[in-house]
Symmetry: C2
Subunit: 774 residues, 2 copies
């Protein structure tokens, strides 16, 4: 076999690995993970495998409050760290030829190809090779988790005997005796409830040791030999939390065995515990009667619908085309809004880091993506998720000494409670509160769903604004309000004073909440009165206090310039830029001790620039330029959330090369494994940033003056790109070409392109020539 | 039985607990812990006990590199946390009457008294009560770890039958199947090597799972009944890492059984592994032939010698008298300089918190105590300990990016390597480096042992000064050198910029190192040349660089005042003082979340004031007053190391009530269990602070102009106090009374009292009347 490249094969619709190497296996397990929002799993192998693997299979919302691990306890730390947990491995099909298991780790491999087909959402694999005992085989597999029936998973496994004869044991199984790789104290989280098996089926039910989650998994399987049904006697095999059914047959050269395995995974999040087994069997009965081919077809149709709405087509750049689809595909695999109790874990179903919990990534990065690509209900659902956590956020703030309904949303959460335990993050990276308020503003701006403010938004805003008002204090030295001891979005500075971004968003939150209060008072007077009573909200008095803070907030700024200072002490840092850093010192988070990073001027991710991005209409182009020119050379982009924001701003400044460089960096972060960490899982939430960089950056999409607007330009490396936006029920397709932009919409709408209003009638394509040659 | 007070009974020489309560048991186990520098243990019970206890027995220098526990790993963290480990429980004597064990937890207790006799270093206990099965007994015990032969421990146990008859089982044992309460992953650190037993003796040898420490423990015992030797047949009882020998006899009312148990604990730190068993038997043979009474006598004589030199007598204040002796006693139990590989763990042999490792407490607090109370060699030994760790300190600095021989001593260490893992401490509480340099300066000032500088001191100073020179950088904004991201002595601020104390001691270190270089160049030219070569030390060039830094260091200061700012942002904090804090909010470290503490103005322990204390001759009385008046009202003294420094400075300022209040707070911190944490162990290192508060504060002891000087005053609550100081081989006894001071010395010496030179001839007592009525 030829030496294996660890590079993903380029293809517009597929992620392809050609040739197997143990070293890269975990990386591809992450890259080709499949999911349907309800469940998901890494792209591991069905047959036995003794090589390097992280066999991870996850059920959305099934988590465990793992005992917190901390070296030195700080008052206020949470008792547990919630993590979405590895669940029953349901794909397993053990195949043994003459007592030798088919195992890629022990075989001599002749060929290997693993492919994720993003168009249809199906994971394929084929390989051939020779077992240590001499049998030659060729295997082809397909697997998907249905987008039609989210509780259903299907494995279609075919093994052809190229050489050898003797006995074959085929054993599909369900294995619940798994553990999390990131278990803090190497504890297993599941206990067996029950199991049973028939001739070609089995059921396993397990239960978490805490929180009483139940997962029932039922499998049914058939075996064909050379195209015909193969009758067999299933022998039950059991172990702790394990059940399998084994068929024993003989084989000879040329025989082809096809195993179809249908699995239902049902949990007590969706059903009563006592109904789980029956629900599983119902799903399987339906699946079995429908048949694998039909199941595959409806599954692919669901994906086709998503692509019809959300696809982005890039002509002239295969790298970018593959990347943007990969990002969109992974986002929709992870979350599609069908279950309001769920949110978007930073690694989705692809790994365990960050515990599958909710971060401010959702509001800052993911919301704009879902808001503009799918039904407005999904964005509404994401917002209501936080509304439902408001009481917990108030309790969280109370633990930190706040009162009177001040709310601090957690940095990391599963059910509204804080899970993170680094004081500089947990207690101090409080700007997350601002992103949650900003998301409400952003949603209303996009949708004009102002009813949301009365129903949900105002309560959240008041809790957040109250937090800010208590978190600042009057500095006698400055004769201004200051906010001490915070960590901004740039986590390479901790516990700083007067982080510009945090101060800015805090003051904005107070003003915006007052603006909403005024709106409600005028437009929804009855609801407003009820809300004031419920929240004990004294409008005039509160307004006076908040406006005083907002008007006298301290914003550190460089003298005689437009540059806002990331924090008060930034100018005391060494005045050096990233290009003065030897490559050998990068990434800093692997090469430098933490204190050195903290006192260096180097920035992990957009911080002042994140604020200018959020509130772009508050700043002139000159201010944007001054700050971008100052901060971009000092930013190391060691967060996956960083390059996308810089890309959008660079586009706005006409820094097209920089914008394109940053776009590529965000879009192929995982595919090209820049940081050598994809084996741990994908950066799901930052994938929304890729979409932002393209649509808001290159496409210049905004909502301005209550209108959808575009200022598209074409990166010089591309021939064209096409994306679509849903805006207040109308879908707008935009194709940007060298000489102009082509628009079509699903209904009549007036939009702005390069500042000019264009009326679209909902039927015709409209072409607008760009005024300046691009 | 009457309700039990949890207060220590007042007594000038003894710590007494009267009446038993399970709730307070761990507290008294800590308070009455005994040790002899080689080994020590908590004051647990010999007989079986099923109540609340922390059975801790520790061998000095026997530690384990426990796997670090950390929630979120930071680059640069150490792989292990060293901890002195719980070792063989060698005191155990199980006594069973008619199958019912004597166990205070199950008995009806009629009387109970536990007493630590500090004069003789012996732990006593007596109790009487009724077993659940009805037998009435009275027990008297004595126990000590010999100061004559440090490997020997003796238990003298007497049980009298008040009522009942039947069978008695007496089983002295050695139990090595123990674990640390603070084991990070509940791992046991010991494995059995061998064990054996004879009729009245047994041997158990265990070995640590890492680092290969061996501990051999041998016991020998005798039983007397009603004053006569009782012959018995010893039945061996074994379990994993456990061996005991049981004697079975009968008893009737009035019988008195006395069990004498001698134990030798020898380790391969002092002997070859293959010799351990024989060494233990040698110790026991000697002990047995000497006899318990004679062993007790020589042990007490050793303590009498320590008291002769180090006692402080306070007339008119029993609380203070008991407290000061308690502090001195615990210090000498913990460390007495006999083994240069050892240092002073913050909790000595009384608990497991802080792992028994070395902190800057040694240099800043303990060194002055040992330097002035005992042979100068002990202080020399403490200094050489750090010299031996210099190479590790250089490696430690290299891990953090420093070079060219810059040394950063660890925050917490057992063998010179860093063990601590909180970034804000490990990487940033770097002022510890300054304390190690200051200790050299302090030692030379006290002893005039300038040879130390050539032999050891200069190398350490150069390493430390190099660290500071690299740690600062030039701020363009300030046009001064700044030091960003540090934690000062006040750990209630983390990651601050330009902590005044750290900047000040850093600049001083550089200047002092240059001063020493000049001295060596003049007085020890050959050694200096060799040192320059060894250290690659270019004197002229280095001098220029360090003086530039030292002359242009930024020292934050309040405008138009003498007040130095703890750190650059201090004035942005709320301007409130401790008396504005409700009592219910104290202690802050239990009531407030960490971020709230950090951004509050409240100070855990002396910070700016620590610097003014160290370098008092650099500051005027007015400056001292301004800073004390500003910082003392903002200091919550939630570190055991804080009140002593404030007490000394208050004495200097004539704030006598404050000085006395602070003295009481430090001296009775553990006896009165201010912070409800004595169950975890005692604050050994801060006990030296108590001595400092009395001798330097009330006694005004200094070395000035190369002379021992005093400026004593008498706290108004006292009739007199007496202490003694060793100064360059001469012992000076000082008694301060209302009307003046009485001095006597062991040899002729000229000292200064209240600024006047006094010649003492070494034989006569000299009385000096105070000039101002006190």
């Amino acid at each position: 076999m030829n030496p294996i490249s660890d590079l993903v094969v380029r293809d517009p619709w597929r992620i392809i690995q050609r040739g197997y190497s143990d070293e890269n296996n975990r990386k591809y397990e992450s890259l080709m993970a499949i999911g349907n929002g309800h469940m998901g799993q890494r792209a591991t192998f069905e047959e036995d495998f003794t090589g390097s693997t992280h066999s991870g299979s996850y059920m959305a919302g099934i988590y465990f409050p793992d005992k917190t691990r901390v070296g030195w306890w700080k008052n206020g730390y949470p008792e547990y760290f919630a993590k979405v947990i590895n669940s029953t491995n349901w794909i397993g099909i053990s195949i043994v030829l003459n007592d030798e298991p088919v195992d890629l780790n022990t075989m001599k491999i002749d060929s290997f190809e693993r492919t994720l087909d993003m168009k249809t959402g199906i994971l394929h694999r084929r390989f051939s090779g020779t077992l240590p005992s001499g049998e030659k085989v060729e295997v082809k597999t397909k697997r998907f988790v249905s987008m039609e029936n989210r509780e259903l998973g299907v494995v279609d496994y075919e093994i052809k005997i190229l050489d050898g004869e003797g006995k074959i044991h085929i054993k599909p199984y369900l294995d619940g005796d798994i553990m999390n790789e990131d278990s803090n104290y190497e504890v297993k989280f599941w206990e067996e409830v029950k199991k049973n098996a028939g001739n070609n089926e089995a059921y396993l039910e397990i239960q978490t040791k805490k929180l009483d989650y139940h997962l029932g998994s039922a499998m049914k399987f058939s075996i064909e030999k050379n195209g015909s049904d193969l009758p067999f006697t299933g022998h039950q095999e059991t172990a702790k939390k394990f059940i399998g059914v084994q068929a024993n047959k003989t084989f000879e050269p040329g025989d082809v065995f096809r195993i179809q395995k249908w699995v239902a995974n049902c949990t007590n999040r969706d059903h009563r515990v006592e109904d789980l087994e029956q629900k599983c069997h119902d799903v399987l009965a339906w699946a079995h009667s429908t048949g694998t081919e039909a199941l595959e077809k409806t599954h692919a149709e669901r994906w086709a619908q998503i692509w019809k709405d959300c696809d982005i087509v890039i002509e002239g750049d295969m790298d970018a085309q593959q990347a943007i689809r990969f990002n969109i595909f992974q986002l929709y695999q992870t979350y599609n809004g069908h279950d309001p109790r769920l949110n978007i874990g930073p690694k989705g179903f692809t790994g365990e880091k960050y515990g599958g919990s909710t971060y401010w990534d959702t509001e800052a990065y993911c919301l704009p993506f879902y808001m503009a690509t799918t039904d407005q209900k999904v964005a509404h659902t994401l917002l209501v998720y936080r509304y439902k956590h408001l009481q917990k956020a108030i309790e969280n703030a109370e633990k930190l000494g706040f009162k009177n309904g001040a709310a601090l949303y957690p940095m990391v959460t599963m059910n509204g409670e804080e899970c993170h335990n680094e004081w500089e993050i947990t207690f101090e990276e409080i700007h997350r509160n601002g992103a949650i308020a900003y998301a409400i503003y952003n949603y209303v701006k996009h949708t004009q769903d102002k009813v949301y403010l009365a129903e949900y938004g105002f309560e959240v805003l008041v809790g957040i604004a109250r937090f800010w008002a208590q978190r600042v204090h009057w500095s006698e030295a400055k004769q201004q309000y200051v906010m001490l001891g915070v960590t901004g979005p740039n986590e390479y500075e901790n516990n700083v004073n007067n982080n510009w971004y945090t101060n800015y968003i805090a003051a904005w939150c107070m003003r915006y909440t007052l603006e909403v209060a005024n709106y409600l008072k005028e437009e929804h007077p009855n609801e407003f009165k009820t809300l004031c009573q419920k929240l004990n909200f004294d409008f005039p008095k509160t307004e006076k206090g908040w406006m005083h803070i907002s008007d006298h907030m301290h914003y550190p700024k460089m003298q005689d310039s437009d540059i806002y200072l990331q924090q008060e002490g930034y100018l005391d840092k060494e005045n050096i830029t990233v290009n003065e850093l030897p490559v050998s010192e990068r990434p800093l988070n692997q090469k430098w001790s933490w204190d050195r990073i903290l006192r260096s001027p180097f920035i992990k991710q957009a911080d002042v620039l994140q604020g200018i991005y959020f509130f772009e209409d508050h700043f002139t182009q000159e201010e944007l330029k001054a700050n971008f020119d100052y901060y971009e050379p000092r930013t190391v982009h060691e967060s996956s959330l960083s390059p996308c924001i810089h890309s959008v701003l660079a586009s706005k400044l006409g820094y097209r090369e920089k914008a394109y460089e940053m776009f590529l960096r965000t879009s192929r972060l995982d595919l090209d494994d820049y940081n050598r960490e994809v084996h741990e899982g994908l950066h799901i939430t930052s994938m929304a940033g890729t979409w932002i960089a393209l649509v808001q950056g290159f496409g210049g999409m905004r909502v301005e003056n209550d209108r959808l607007t575009f200022r598209p330009y074409l990166p010089k490396e591309w021939k064209s790109y096409t994306f679509s936006i849903v805006f207040r029920g109308v879908r707008v397709h935009v194709t940007s070409r060298k000489d102009g932009v082509e628009l079509s919409t699903s209904a009549p709408i007036t939009i702005a392109v390069w500042g000019e209003l264009i009326d679209l009638d909902g039927t015709q394509r409209t072409v607008i020539k760009s005024k300046t040659a691009v």
